[in-house]
């Protein structure tokens, strides 16, 4: 599983990245987490509001910062 955190580096983007790392830790699963800050790559996902979270190529949320517990629910 691969999780990508999309955002150009603002406070909310960093918060989402931290929440994602926390969710992965809670899940105990082997997950690759990557930050995507390149605006062209972000727009390549059709995302028009950041931060956004992409799990295995599917955008799960955009323009919001879900809590770690919610993100954990998406980690299978």
């Amino acid at each position: 599983m691969k999780i990508e955190v999309l955002g150009t580096g603002c406070a909310n983007c960093n918060k989402l990245y931290q929440n994602t790392l926390e969710a992965v830790k809670m899940s105990g699963k082997q997950v690759e987490v990557a930050k995507v800050e390149d605006i062209k790559k972000i727009m390549g996902y059709g995302v028009l509001s950041t931060p956004a979270l992409v799990i295995d190529g599917v955008v799960k949320v955009a323009g919001k910062v879900p809590k770690a517990e919610e993100i954990k629910g998406w980690i299978k």
Binding site: N12, C13, G46, V47, A52, K60
Partner: protein, 128 residues
């Protein structure tokens, strides 16, 4: 040109028909004008119809959804309805007395008429 950060708040999202008629193209041009004037952010209706996850999730983050259709076929409205989104402000270009044809010769004053009408609706909603 500097690219804007996508985290900038703008809670009004604008969708338009871009159909194969003069009124479809007027709807699209009016939506672009509204975005350029700062009324809202222009969003991609085709991405909603195509169930592109990034577009769908980005739309969920919007607070006010605005749609402009060219004619009573209502493709923009139907596309958003079908995906479960609720439209807050809506107009059809033909309701403003602009007749539908397939000649694609757009009168800039028609684009202005549509954009002003929608800007007025959004302004009333905001209480400004």
């Amino acid at each position: 040109m500097k690219t804007k950060c996508l985290c900038e708040a703008n809670d009004t999202l604008i969708f338009s028909c871009a159909g194969s008629s003069n009124v479809g193209q007027i709807a699209n041009q009016a939506a672009i004008r509204l975005a350029q004037e700062g009324v809202g952010r222009y969003f991609c209706l085709a991405g909603i119809g195509g169930h592109v996850s990034g577009m769908i999730e980005s739309t969920k983050a919007g607070k006010v959804l605005v749609a402009i259709d060219g004619c009573p076929v209502g493709c923009a409205r139907r596309t958003l309805d079908h995906t479960g989104f609720t439209i807050d402000e809506y107009i059809q270009v033909t309701e403003l007395g602009i007749e539908k044809n397939h000649e694609f010769i757009l009168d800039p004053s028609d684009v202005g008429k549509v954009s002003r009408h929608m800007a007025s609706l959004v302004s009333k909603r905001r209480g400004t």
